[in-house]
Subunit: 198 residues, 2 copies
Amino acid sequence: MSTEEKIKEAAKKIFIKRGYAGARMNDIADELGMNKALLHYYYRSKEKLFEVIFFEVFDMLLPKLKATVTTDLPLRKKIELFVNTYVDAIASNPYVPMFILHELSQDPDRFVEKLKRRNSFPEIGQFILQVIQEMEEKNIQQYHPFHFFMNMISMCAFPFVARPMLQAVSGIGDEHWNEIMAIRKEEVTRFILNAIRI
Amino acid sequence: MSTEEKIKEAAKKIFIKRGYAGARMNDIADELGMNKALLHYYYRSKEKLFEVIFFEVFDMLLPKLKATVTTDLPLRKKIELFVNTYVDAIASNPYVPMFILHELSQDPDRFVEKLKRRNSFPEIGQFILQVIQEMEEKNIQQYHPFHFFMNMISMCAFPFVARPMLQAVSGIGDEHWNEIMAIRKEEVTRFILNAIRI
DNA sequence: GTCTATAGCTGGATAGAC
DNA sequence: GTCTATCCAGCTATAGAC
């Protein structure tokens, strides 16, 4: 791995742990046993380094989600695919939601602005329409379509965000936590499908 | 409202918006048209000021939740009460989850440690047992009880955390968002009860 | 109690040797 | 490319006048 790569990985770790404001260039350098002057040599400034990571994280996640939401599957299959994709993607990068929320809270407008410049922004309109149609045809329970969508997203993402607190409240240790999360996809999918069945 | 109170309220606003690391004592002072020396006069240090707010936020939320989880109601009623209480509590302080997550991510252990010193920590063991019993008696669908609990929490809390992103993805404006959130309690309760019905 | 002024430190950024 | 040394802005915190 090149020095440039190594810096990026270490920076990702620190930014995710502490957020942009809390992260120190020194911490990143220490993480690598390097000097912070090197970070500036490769990435010019803290802000620039952060942006590189920011977009990398999103380019890993958003295109996948966009693809699942816009495929041409029947609703139930699409829900299953969405949950599987989302939970898998986050489970293999469990720090991502926290990272996103961290920066989202600092300056929501700037954050959303950055995102929109990528055109990988998931387009949920079509999915919502599909839900509405199934409801009109009485194939599934009636819900407010947006709440239904929020329920899906919430159950996929929140456990990863709130993990430390959930573990504290429940007393579940790390090993046990991983075992439990391994079956989350199936549990959530089944939960949703049961909730919409007539 | 006393100066001390005013400082606390302004500080809460800033800490929530920017997190501990991102908040500036100057921002808090400016918010009030005061001088930052005053903040130190009343609260000694940034850290002390933060702690006061931290515990105030939790003392507003946790005891309520603890109460709902440990009441002696049948499961379905308890679920309804839990969702109503949680969503109401957060809706009237929509910044709270973000605030919590912010600080949770900085140093999870210290965070949980602080919390445990209060004895208002919700005890979910009894609730989980109740869920298990209903499942064994085949009164409700079979789920992993912890996933079921996570689903409840997730749907209550996440929309408030991710609001800016959800609005961006969906294109929903502020007025419309408020309308939608006004019915969330009912939507979530119905969703859960439908998911567990046999 | 409230203000101005300033001390003292932290952390991002750069210069310059190697 | 990598390191050491150092600059300088921005921040917390305090001293001291009123």
